[in-house]
Amino acid sequence: MVRLEKRPQPSKLWTYLTPLVAVICTMVAGGALFSLLGKNPVEAIATIFWEPLFGEFAFYYRPQLLIKGAPLVLIAIGLSLGFRAGIWNIGAEGQFIIGALTGAGVGLAFYPAEGWYIFPLMMIAGAFGGWVWAMIPAILRTRFGTNEILVSLMLVYVAEQLLAKMALGLLRNPDGHGFPGSRNFQQYPSGHNAELITGTGMHWGVVAALIAVIFAYVLLNRHILGYHIRLAGQAPRAARFAGVSPTRLVLFCLGTSGALAGLAGMFEVSGPAGQVSIDFNVGYGFTAIIVAFLGRLHPVGILLAGLLMALTYIGGEIAQSNLGLPAAAIQMFQGMLLFFLLAIDVLTNFRVRLSRREVV
C-alpha cells in the first residue's frame, strides 16, 4: 500500500528537481504522442529541443529565443507575485492586448512626428493600459469581493473584441487601402521597438524582462512587501494578525501583473508583431501561467522557464515545417508540461511510503 506522509519541511532537493523531472516526463509522453501521430519520436523531440540551439540554422533561431522569451518572462514575473499570495490573475492575455492597444495608440497619435520621447511615452501608455485593465478585477474584488479569476478571464474576451474593433476602426492604417490592421511600426523609427544589437534578438522588451526579474528578486527577498506577499500565501491567518492589508496586496499584485503584461503587449506590437492586427496576440498571456509555475514562482526560475517555453515555441515551429507536426500537438505538449509539474510537485511536500495496511 502506497501512502503519502507529509514532510515537516518542503524538500529542498525536490523543489529544484521537480521541473527537471517534469520536463523529462513531458519529453517521454510527448514522444509517445508524436509517435502516435506517425512521427519518429526521437527526431521530433530533437527537433524541438536541439535544432533551435545547435542546428544548422541556429544563427537564425537563437535570437528568436529572446524575442519569444521576453514577453513570457515579463508577464510570468507579474503573475508569480499574485500566485504566491493566492491572488489569481488569469487574464494576462487581456491586459497584454489592452497594453498593446494603448501603447500603439499613443505612438500612432504622434505619427509622423519624430522624437526620442515617443517610445518612452508608448511604454508608459502600454503599462498604464494593462494596469487599468487589471484594476477592474482588483477593485471589484476589494470593493465587492467578486472572484478575480472569473472577472479577469471574462475581460480577455472583452479585450479580444475591443482589439478587433480597433484594428478595423480607430487604429486602422489610413493609407492601408482598407486592409485591417494599423500602420507598421517598422516604418516609424521613433515608435519602433527595434533590435538593439543586430542579430541577437535583443530589444527593449528583453531589457525590461531582465529588470523585472531583478526587481522581483529583490522585492521577494529583501523587501517587507515581498515578505507580506509570501506570508499571505502561506499563512493567511498569520498575515492578518501581522497587519497585512489584503486590499493593498490585491491592488498591488493585480496592478503590477497587469502593468507588466501591458508593457509586454506594447513591446510585442511595436517590435516583433509590428502592427496592431486582429490576431497579433498568440496566447503569451496564457502560456505565461505555465511559465510561472514551471519557474516555481521564483524570479530566476521564471527566467529559465521562459527560455525553455520559448524553445518549445520555436522548436515547435521547426517541427511543424520540417516534420509536418500539427501546431496543436505543440500546444498539447506545453499543457502536458504543466500537468507533470503539478503531479510531481507532490514529492516536494510529501514522502512516499510503502507500508502494509494497518489494522484499525
Binding site: 471589484l140 465587492f144 472569473l150 471574462m154 475591443l162 496543436a328 505538449f333 499543457g335 510537485d345
Partner: protein, 307 residues
C-alpha cells in the same frame, strides 16, 4: 438599417432554450463538483474535448446519440486527469484546473484536425402530435431536440439527489467539512473523484451540444468561454440547482438577444454586442458577491488524511 420588427419573440424564446442548454449542462456538473468541495476550473477544457469527441463519433457513426455518449466519456476521461492531480497528487485546484483547460484546448485542436468544415448528422427534434403544433407554446417548449429536456431533467435530478437523498447529504458533508466527513467514515477522496467524473461528463455533454446542435460544425476553440460562464453561473446560483437553471436561461437569453440585435442591424458595432455576454457575466458576479457567501466551506481546499 435597424429593423427590430424582424425579431420574432416566439423564435427568440425558442432559441433561448437552445442557447441555454450547453451552459446549463456544464454548470450543473460543476455545481455537483463544487458542492463536494472541489473547484475545477477546467470546465472550458472538458467542454471543448467533449465537443470534438462527440462530433467525431457522431460523424463517423452517423448517430448523434453515440456522439453524446462519447462526449460524456471524453469529458469524464479528461476530468479523471484533474481528479488524479488534485485527489491523489494533492495539487492546487486552481493550477490543476487551468492546466486542464490549456491541455484540453490543445487536445481538441489536435483531434479535430480532420473535421473542419464537415456537417454532423442532424439530431431529430421532438414532435409530439398536439403539443408541438400549439401556437407559441409549441415551438418554445415542445419542439426541441431531446438534449434540451435532458438538461431540464438533469436539473431536477441534481436538485433531488443533493437535497433529498442520503448520497447527496454525504456529498455535501464532504464539501462543507472534509475532516469531519472523514472522521465519520465517509470516503472523502472517493466521493470527490466521482463528483469530478460527473462534472466532466456533464461538461462533455454541454460541449457536444454546441458542436452537434447549436452551431453545428467543428472549429478550434469553438466553446469561446462558455465553460468559464458556466463557472460564473455556479457562483451566481449560490450553489443551488434551481437557480443554475434560471441563470442559464438568463445568459442564454442575453446571447440570443445579442445575436438577434446584430442580425437586425442595431446601430451598435458588432464587437460591442459580442462582448455583452461577458460584461453581463461580470456585472452579475458583482451583484451576487454582495450577498452572503454561500460557497461550500471546504471549496478548493486540499484534503489529506494524516493517518
Amino acid at each position: 438599417m435597424m429593423d427590430l420588427g424582424s425579431i420574432s419573440p416566439t423564435l427568440l424564446l425558442a432559441s433561448l432554450m437552445v442557447a441555454a442548454t450547453p451552459i446549463l449542462l456544464a454548470a450543473l456538473g460543476e455545481l455537483v463538483v463544487e458542492r463536494a468541495g472541489v473547484l475545477n476550473l477546467g470546465v472550458e477544457g472538458m467542454m471543448i474535448t467533449g465537443a470534438i469527441c462527440g462530433f467525431a463519433i457522431a460523424v463517423n457513426t452517423g448517430s448523434p446519440t453515440l456522439g453524446f455518449i462519447a462526449a460524456a466519456l471524453g469529458g469524464a476521461a479528461l476530468s479523471l486527469l484533474f481528479a488524479i492531480l488534485t485527489q491523489v497528487a494533492l495539487a492546487n485546484h486552481v493550477a490543476s484546473g487551468l492546466a486542464l483547460t490549456l491541455f484540453g484546448l490543445g487536445l481538441s485542436a489536435l483531434l479535430g484536425q480532420g473535421y473542419v468544415g464537415i456537417k454532423p448528422p442532424a439530431t431529430d427534434k421532438l414532435d409530439i402530435p398536439v403539443l408541438s403544433d400549439l401556437p407559441v407554446v409549441g415551438p418554445v417548449l415542445f419542439a426541441h431536440d431531446p438534449m434540451v429536456y435532458v438538461g431540464l431533467a438533469l436539473t431536477l435530478a441534481v436538485w433531488f439527489v443533493l437535497n433529498r437523498t442520503r448520497a447527496g447529504l454525504i456529498l455535501r458533508a464532504v464539501g462543507e467539512n472534509h475532516d469531519a466527513a472523514h472522521a465519520l467514515g465517509y470516503k472523502v477522496v472517493r466521493v470527490r473523484v466521482m463528483a469530478i467524473l460527473f462534472g466532466g461528463a456533464c461538461a462533455g455533454l454541454g460541449g457536444a451540444y454546441i458542436s452537434l446542435i447549436r452551431v453545428p460544425q467543428w472549429t478550434e476553440g469553438m466553446t469561446a468561454g462558455v465553460g468559464w460562464i458556466a463557472l460564473a453561473l455556479v457562483v451566481f446560483a449560490s450553489w443551488r440547482a434551481g437557480r443554475v437553471m434560471l441563470g442559464a436561461y438568463l445568459f442564454g437569453g442575453v446571447t440570443v438577444l445579442q445575436l438577434n440585435l446584430q442580425a437586425a442591424g442595431v446601430a451598435l458595432p458588432v464587437e460591442y454586442l459580442s462582448m455583452s455576454p461577458y460584461i453581463i457575466t461580470i456585472l452579475v458576479l458583482v451583484i451576487m458577491s454582495a450577498e452572503r457567501n454561500r460557497a461550500p466551506a471546504s471549496l478548493g481546499r486540499t484534503f489529506h488524511a494524516s493517518n
